[in-house]
Symmetry: C2
Subunit: 374 residues, 2 copies
């Protein structure tokens, strides 16, 4: 079943902070060896959540032990609520308690929540320890494990507190994704589709034709994950701190974040990737309304997202999303707001996203009002 | 009384994160103009403490207002206890509440506690905002305002949580130091002496001859502050993240931090600079005991620190410091410990400090036992 030759390597080029992402089946079972080759003497704190720990922690601990790597886990509750000041403090104090030093490592072993939280803790303990990511969700493998954004949520908004902090190594085991719920896999896949929509129409075409293969696993899945990582790595290498181009990665996220905020990050109502899916359709529809792209492209995106099983409009959120004003309020606080003007990622068509500055708030408001009525 | 021509500029060379330190009399009254020249459109959050606010805040606010800079203060209790998770969260949430963006600025207006806390908040809000330092204590002007170390204390130890984060501008007004207590001024002066002891015997000689002038103010004080900043800036430019040479700046600090820890950071018992003063004498005495330097140098340092009015041994701490073991326990947790070995900053004489690796713990223990008995 396993073909180790299929393992792909993506190099994230960031000068002295460059690192490799290894993507393939069962790379988790080589974790100790891979970590040792990058950090020969490091002791490790493994930050994980209850769900991941129950399924995969023993295998990782065994593997590290076999390589003579000292490691101990810090196990947190699963869910977005864990990205809080309180849990950040818990993790930091636990790492200090283990007497780890700057040369030791914090391993994030979980999805995006664990990656963001553990990364911020690694950045902050002794002003920066080594950091390793072993992402276990599709979302984390293709998004949060590339580019060094770490952080927690503020009561005033998502991801408002954190650091840019790069890992030393990322291990993305594509077989681990078989343990995700279908819903979680689909939600993560929204971010994969995003890379096609941003600047790679060829990848988007390939994705349209290979959903079944990606779902099943094997080389199609590895290719989808590796292409996504490569796409993000290329953008991040050119604009690490999001002063320009990196904002393209927010395609669908301004609307998506607002919907997540309004639904109070209740994962039974809406998870991040679902918000992004709706947001990407809205971004295409708004672009068409502004005469920047064709309504046919909006329809094409909608059709594919429906096939994947993702939501494509706000109809499922009627109990929460009541008015355009409600959405506008969240958008105003979103960190993509620059000096009071509304910046949006719009598109000229599939694979042709661009950063639109000074978008009139009234246009967005009118568009959302129509979208909510339809 | 004021001679604006006396203003000295120290450039901290850190590639795209380089910045200027302006040192002189009444530079505070040019704050708005200086900030505008670096950040033309930034709104500002001024983080300060109750003591500094009572004396200087109105002048700063007036000055910024006159230049058309929007600014609002965040006023915290004075004292080391403010460098906590709880106050960090308070400051971060207040900055977000003001709706400041990445291009806006956080001004640290106070001593080292305020600088460290506000700097970590600036580093963390939206993963990094602009940061400006207006240090109001001698310690902050010559130490914490140079080099980008920011952070808070952990219940397990001082400065264990934070970030390397550089300011865009530092304004050091030497007349503001006239509002410090004598004790606080002397304590800050311990760090000035440290720069002479590390690698500049000429500066140390000059300091020995000019204590009265520096205390009084004017050009001697400006020279002392500027030379200190220049000395630290040179070291930081070569080793920003303390992988080597920067550790020299910890001369006297390993012992000093332990004494601060044992006395529970109670400022009525011991303040940081006093701990450093005792620590520097201990570092010289330990170096002499290890046959690395002459006991005459230890005596010379002791004599000068006594003239300045700083403590030079642990005799004033008898109610707190009971045994060598107690000190060793704190040293073991100090962040200058590398992979379980004891690293110390020792010296071959005045202006000849060096990093000693693998110092036997038993030697340190024996030395401390003697020092406590004498």
């Amino acid at each position: 079943m396993t073909d180790r030759n299929l393992t792909e390597k993506v190099k994230v080029e960031l000068a002295d902070r460059s690192y490799d992402i290894l993507i393939g089946e069962h790379v988790l079972l080589g974790a100790g060896k891979h970590i040792k080759s990058v950090l020969p003497d490091a002791k490790c704190a493994i930050v994980t959540d209850e769900n991941v720990a129950a399924i995969h922690l023993e295998a990782l601990l065994e593997n590290l032990k076999a390589e003579g790597i000292e490691a101990a886990p810090i196990i947190l509750p699963a869910g977005e609520a864990t990205k809080s000041y309180a849990h950040l403090q818990t993790v930091i104090e636990a790492i200090i308690e283990m007497r780890l030093e700057r040369g030791d490592a914090v391993i994030a072993f979980g999805g995006g929540v664990i990656g963001d939280l553990a990364g911020f803790a690694a950045a902050s303990v002794r002003r920066g320890m080594n950091f390793i990511q072993i992402p276990t969700s599709l979302l984390a493998q293709v998004d949060s494990s590339v580019g060094g954004k770490t952080g927690i949520n503020s009561p005033q908004g998502k991801n408002l507190v954190g650091a840019f902090y790069q890992p030393r190594l990322v291990l993305a085991d594509t077989t681990v994704l078989d343990t995700l719920s279908e819903r979680e896999f689909r939600a993560g896949f929204a971010e994969v589709i995003k890379y096609g929509l941003i600047n790679d129409a060829g990848f988007y075409n390939w994705l349209e034709q290979n959903w079944d293969g990606i779902k099943k696993g094997g080389k199609e899945r590895i290719h989808a994950v590796a292409t996504s990582c490569r796409a993000k790595a290329a953008i991040v290498a050119r604009d690490e701190r999001e002063s320009g181009e990196r904002a393209l990665l927010n395609l669908g996220h301004t609307f998506g974040h607002a919907l997540e905020g309004i639904t109070k990050y209740q994962s039974d109502v809406l998870v991040h990737g679902e918000g992004v899916a709706i947001g990407m359709v809205l971004a295409h529809a708004f672009s068409a309304r502004m005469n920047q792209s064709s309504p046919d492209d909006t329809q094409r995106v909608k059709t594919y997202l429906e096939k994947v099983g993702l939501p494509t409009d706000m109809s499922g959120l009627r109990n929460h999303v009541k008015s355009a004003n409600q959405i506008m309020d969240f958008i105003a606080q979103d960190k993509k707001v620059s000096r009071g003007n509304l910046n949006f990622i719009l598109t000229h068509g599939i694979g042709q996203a661009y950063i639109a500055k000074n978008v009139p708030a009234a246009e967005v408001h009118a568009f959302l009002t129509e979208a909510l009525e339809s």
